[in-house]
Amino acid sequence: MTQQYGFFIDSSRCTGCKTCMLACKDLKDLPPEVNFRRVYEYTGGEWTQDGDAWRQDVFSYYTSIACNHCADPACTKVCPTGAMAKHENGFVIVDEEVCIGCKSCAMACPYGAPQYSEVKRHMTKCDGCYGRVAEGKKPVCVEACPLRALDFGPIEELREKHGTLAAVAPLPEDTYTHPSIVIKPNPKARPVGNHDGFLANPREV
């Protein structure tokens, strides 16, 4: 493997607009139920009445996640056919010609990245837009972001620039798969494993 590529996710800037998700859907021609990129809303806080008025400590923030092209992917390990494999430059890609659609990878991946396509009858997943990357472009989600809250590049470079945080609530611990992502946390971010809040948009991700 030459080097590992990955995503930078600036959750302090993300407004949850989902342009990344829809730009991806457009380019990859995905149906409504398949989301190569997903935007998670984590929300919490309590309200208490104070006379006629209210007090609260509400917080909310978004984290946009696609496939993390993990250093130690869970999906490839369980794939019975070898269709899901880690390729050069760290891209984890499903060979759609080989995949039999058994969904083992979907169950193994803690991020929900591999998704079954009813139309294609096999698994589909973010491929890091390796074709665009080969042409010197960035993945379509990155170039689409209206807030410039996403970036992409060699993960070591991203880590040098932005640090090594790779998990915040409601994401899983990064020790499971060593995701190739760097997160700039939202000012209100809660650490991974925190239960102050809840995943507020389960039907959208």
Binding site: T15, A83, E135
Partner: protein, 820 residues
């Protein structure tokens, strides 16, 4: 017809095509192509998986064409249509330059990126149709274009002959915005207006569904509808206070207001305080404080803040003395009653005798008094401070006074007309002047408030200037008999109280002819008598502009990406053909085609502004950007620098905190007992408000908000957007709990006007006692009039606000129940 559509649709679900492509061009092809590039990849070493999609992204594309998203979000984005075999295969956006702030790309939001699924939508209107069933039932019969043109022209002639030109109305419609030829808004600048102006004119309206109250009320203060500093100027502020201003969900473009806010605030590190009943995406964890407020009580918060500013000596007295009228007795106009000034109102020395203390404001707004005091001290002691309001606070039954009240914070603290400050209005923008298609002058000067057209159908001749806001005449002489509804969904979906609208329109002896011109079978289209299928922006050429874009604005060359689908025709062709039947074709076209008009417009604009590109270079470049030569737009800068040399357009030339014109209106207009108009920006409670007696039956307030899945109702039929951002009613756990409602449950939201069913978003992001839903969902009612789409306008009222006679679509009371 059907065949053509099927062919198009198979491209939409495209997998075979794409896969064939992949196999043909394939991984190996890509590897070869990549090898020639200076990239760190060594693709040949890789296996050859046939991965989905993107390997083929740049393969097979015959051409890339600049187009635009021309909807009413307040932004405006370029789109780059990648076309293969005459079909749009994917949608890109501005990809030019290095994308550094100031030289940034204008990046489309999720909706623009989904344009392909709007163009090739199963709801597309395919050919002209005429109504066959009851109006609104949605039964139509296909007709030829010739028959359609004849039907429209014959009815237009008949209505004009029988009732006069004032019986013809151009309904508000913002579905095609920012174009030079195609724009539907303002209707008075649309091609329909040009056609009608050549045929004797039509009944005007004033105001908009977006800004009825603020644009009517704030000129009483500033002489013009409140201008604001450019959001790029947030780079120079220390404190930003947003009253119901939420660009992350309203002006979402990556070259628009939210992007400027993010970049400019990153430079100033300004504190940001968000005053809103909802914890918005603009807040999104970036706020220094969220101050939840009961809908419709912004003026009470302002009064409470003013009480602190005044009693703690934090007002800018020299500014108030020199630039303003009516703050205290020194500048109170002689006609005004003693103690009719603002300071007296706040301190309890005015007619109501109530001191507007923080405790008083707390009981109304739901904001604790200590928070009000802290906010006032922060605003009073931070210079400069930028107060910005959005258009949510004004879209209320007391929105005129709320919008004028928010201005007071900027005025009291002397932040008007300076960099880093602001007027208290909504943000402004630099713009590039560009003369559009001339639409001629309307010989008719009579105008109704934009919101009052259903009344004008039902009881037109009863409507008067003093009771119903009729302008240009003492009263309407004739009811509306003919409606042009071009690229608009305010005929049904976006107008208040859909069930009443259905009754008014359902009686075709009232309004006799409704012509709807649109792309899709919207709720409004279902009420057409004649339904004409329009081209989308992708199917024709236009020059597009009018973004709120901070200090870098742009013109977009929206070229024709694909051939017209089905039998759709351009608005220009439709109007030309109807003009022919009305005997005014030559005057209408002046012998030019649409493209010839565009060339002509570019040339006449280049005469005035030689820096503009000619049409062909513009076409090749796709987007023309220009920076504000002044750095940032600063509202009322000239007035601040030289109030005598640059007076405001108010009668006094100054900022009128006390408006004698409003005092006169309050004294002469015929108002309902609970309608309040006041010369000062006071707080008044309203019908359907938080303290209304109706709240016993309908205990929850309901407001609408702009939702990312749609621009108002546009894009509301795009499946991927509907799934990605789902229509839900927001309700606090404190209200959901006793009702047995859990996050995601199906609920009914109802009041005396109607009922809608949708899923609940149980979230602390909305204040207790308040609910909210995104406006614009496509009305979809069953036979008992229950809507199943979460369309808010089955719950809103057609009773107008007192002064602007505007749409109070955020002033609602409802109850919510779990659907068993």
């Amino acid at each position: 017809m059907t065949e053509r559509r099927d062919e198009t649709m198979s491209f939409m679900s495209a997998s075979p095509t794409r896969r064939q492509l992949l196999q043909a061009a394939g991984w190996c092809g890509l590897a070869t192509a990549a090898a020639g590039l200076s990239s760190p990849f060594s693709w040949s070493a890789m296996a050859e998986p046939a991965a989905s999609g993107v390997a083929a992204a740049s393969k097979g594309i015959d051409k890339t064409v600049w187009s635009a998203c021309t909807v009413n979000c307040g932004s405006r984005c370029p789109l780059r249509m990648h076309v293969e075999n005459g079909v749009i295969k994917w949608v890109e956006t501005d990809n030019t330059g290095l994308d550094v702030y100031g030289e940034h790309q204008v990046r489309a939001c999720l909706r623009g990126r989904s344009m392909r699924r709007r163009v090739y939508n199963p709801d597309r209107l395919k050919y002209p149709m005429k109504r066959v069933g009851r109006r609104g039932e949605g039964k139509f019969e296909r007709i030829s274009w010739e028959e359609a043109y004849d039907l429209v022209a014959d009815n237009l002639k008949r209505v004009i002959a029988e009732h006069g030109n004032e019986a013809v109305y151009l309904n508000y419609g913002t579905g095609t915005l920012g174009g030079s030829v195609t724009r539907s808004w303002p209707p008075a600048n649309s091609l329909i207006a040009r056609l009608m102006n050549l045929c004797g004119g039509y009944l005007n309206h004033y105001g908009t569904y977006s800004t009825a109250q603020i644009s009517f009320a704030t000129p009483f203060t500033y002489g013009t509808s409140a201008d604001g500093n450019s959001p790029s100027d947030i780079a120079n502020t220390k404190l930003l206070v947003m009253f119901g201003n939420n660009p992350a969900e309203t002006r979402m473009s990556g070259g628009g207001v939210i992007y400027h806010l993010a970049e400019a605030r990153a430079r100033s590190n300004a504190r940001m305080i968000v005053v809103d009943p909802r914890y918005t995406d603009t807040a999104g964890g970036r706020e220094d404080e969220w101050i939840p407020i009961r809908p419709g009580t912004d003026a009470a918060l302002v009064a409470g803040l003013a009480h602190v500013l005044i009693t703690e000596n934090m007002v800018d007295q020299p500014f108030l003395d020199r630039y303003c009228v009516g703050y205290d007795e020194t500048t109170l106009p002689p006609e005004a009653p003693r103690n009719g000034h603002y300071k007296a109102y706040i301190l309890g020395e005015g007619p109501d005798g109530i001191a507007k203390t923080p405790a008083w404001a707390a009981s109304i707004t739901g904001i604790p008094a200590d928070r009000i005091i802290k906010l006032a001290r922060e605003i009073g002691s931070t210079k400069p401070c930028c107060i910005m309001q959005g258009w949510g606070p004004q879209r209320h039954a007391n929105g005129e006074m709320s919008s004028r009240a928010v201005l007071m914070l900027a005025i009291l603290t002397g932040n008007v007309g300076i960099s880093g400050g602001g007027s208290g209005g909504r943000e402004g923008s630099f713009s590039i002047p560009f003369e559009r298609f001339p639409t001629l002058k309307n010989p008719v000067s009579t105008a109704i408030p934009v919101f009052m057209w259903t009344d004008a159908i039902k009881r037109g001749p009863e409507m008067t200037a003093l009771r119903d806001g009729i302008q240009g005449k003492e009263k309407l002489d004739v009811p509306i008999k003919f409606i042009w509804n071009y690229a608009g969904n305010a005929l049904v979906n976006q107008h208040a109280d859909i069930n009443r609208t259905d009754e008014v329109l359902g009686d075709d002896s009232l309004c006799e002819m409704i012509v709807v011109i649109d792309n899709h079978m919207t709720a409004s289209a279902r009420y057409a008598d004649v339904l004409l299928p329009d081209l989308t922006t992708s199917e024709q050429m236009d020059l597009v502009m009018d973004a709120s874009a901070g200090n870098m604005n742009y013109l977009i060359f929206a070229d024709q990406a694909i051939e017209p689908l089905f039998e759709c025709r351009s608005i220009y062709d439709m109007c030309s053909e109807i003009a022919a039947r009305m005997g005014v074709k030559d005057a209408f076209t002046e012998g030019r085609t649409q493209e010839e008009w565009l060339r002509h417009l570019v040339e006449i604009n280049r005469e005035k502004d030689p820096a503009l590109p000619d049409l062909d270079s513009f076409r090749a470049a796709g987007i023309y950007k220009r920076h504000d030569p002044d750095g940032h737009h600063i509202a009322y800068k000239d007035f601040r620098a030289d109030p005598e040399g640059h007076p405001l357009k108010t009668p006094s030339g100054k900022i009128e905190i006390y408006s004698q014109r409003l005092a006169d209106i309050a004294a002469t207009w015929e108002l309902a007992p609970d309608d309040v108009i006041d010369p000062l920006p006071i707080y008044a409670s309203t019908f359907r408000g938080w303290d209304s007696p109706e709240r016993k039956t309908y205990p929850l307030q309901l407001t609408g908000f702009h939702f990312k899945a749609r621009t108002h109702s546009t894009y509301g039929n795009v499946d991927v957007l509907k799934a990605a951002a789902q229509q839900e009613v927001w309700i606090n756990p404190i209200d959901a709990g006793p009702r047995g409602i859990a996050n995601g449950d199906l609920v009914r939201v109802f009041n005396a006007e109607g009922e809608t069913r949708l899923h609940a978003k149980v979230t602390p992001r909305i204040m207790p006692g308040v609910t909210a839903m995104g406006e614009g969902a496509w009305h979809s009612a069953d036979s008992s009039k229950v809507d199943h789409a979460g369309s808010i306008n089955v719950l809103t009222t057609q009773r107008p606000s007192p002064l602007a006679k505007g749409n109070p679509q955020h002033t609602n009371l409802v109850d919510v129940q779990k659907v068993a």
